[in-house]
Symmetry: C2
Amino acid sequence: MARTAGSHSDITGPRVLKAALQLFARHGFAAVSMRQIAAQVGVQAGALYNYIPDKQTLLFDLMRTHMEELLSAWQDEAGADTAPARLERFTRFHIRYHLERPDEVFVSYMELRNLTPDNFSVIEALRRRYEDQLEAILRDGAQSGDFDVPDPKVATMAVIAMVTGVTTWYRTAGRLTVDEVQEIYWQMVRKGVSA
Amino acid sequence: MARTAGSHSDITGPRVLKAALQLFARHGFAAVSMRQIAAQVGVQAGALYNYIPDKQTLLFDLMRTHMEELLSAWQDEAGADTAPARLERFTRFHIRYHLERPDEVFVSYMELRNLTPDNFSVIEALRRRYEDQLEAILRDGAQSGDFDVPDPKVATMAVIAMVTGVTTWYRTAGRLTVDEVQEIYWQMVRKGVSA
DNA sequence: GTCTATACCTGGATAGAC
DNA sequence: GTCTATCCAGGTATAGAC
């Protein structure tokens, strides 16, 4: 396909998303200007609007994409098995997946307030679908007697908060590998819900 | 004391802090304007500067006050005892204290990015001092054989994240009392670090 | 597809009257 | 202590040339 010399739409589009993601994660959505994003991409502010309709939609698309990919990745990994085996798989998956995407996680978690009500509802529904995956595991294990979980809803929130928390302190250059972190957290989760 | 008719400095000052706290918690520091704060207080924007030097200092003061009061409240409650007893006290204290101050917690947690580097260092040091309280308990319990905690630093972050997470979902109007939530979380913490 | 230029608005903060 | 008025920097988004 012949293209105009200055045409880079196939490459600039993703770069806009990536720059926005990094800047939103670092400074927060409201604190980042379109001019900053443009500077990071290496274009002028006006050029951004060839790729995104507005700043709000940019945030929404980043968050929706992240949540949909998270759900899809878990669907690929989840399988039929005993509740304890599924819980271990969920715990390790969640930690690995989130540590591999610190910016996406941070933005999707911190910028809910900056979504319009309609966009917020969409993201919330996706988040809820993900949490439901864990809740189902805990319910199954409680019913089978493998777990002692008096309130599966609360236990779900507790486990999710705990494992998501790794993203606030883990650094690749630190003393622990991802495998070691997964193991430590899995032992705490396992014991925490044990019968 | 005789006062000018329009003088309300003794009451307006705290109202500025409270309005700012609420708005920052709801919409985020960067998304809230001084004019919004002034409107909530019922004054004009210029009048705010009788009480605060600038917006950054306003945020910093809110966060520092919260962290200092948190530390001080825990000092009042902490006491010499076995590690398991101190861990239970810490868990219940943390949940109760945080649920009683959702706005302070949210702001102190979400707005770290919007502090200047100097202010950030101060808040981080206070946060670290609080986390050290829990870490000391976990180390003591590991040494005494009461806990099985292979990595006290990681366990500290895991427990803190878990119990702080209640603030994201707990609603006073919901089906659970604070006491019930404390009990559920305490059982998970207790089992999670158990030998 | 990107640029320059700009419209239009809202931001934080200050000055000076009352 | 609060108001009105205002400065000026910076925000999002658009228009039209290239």
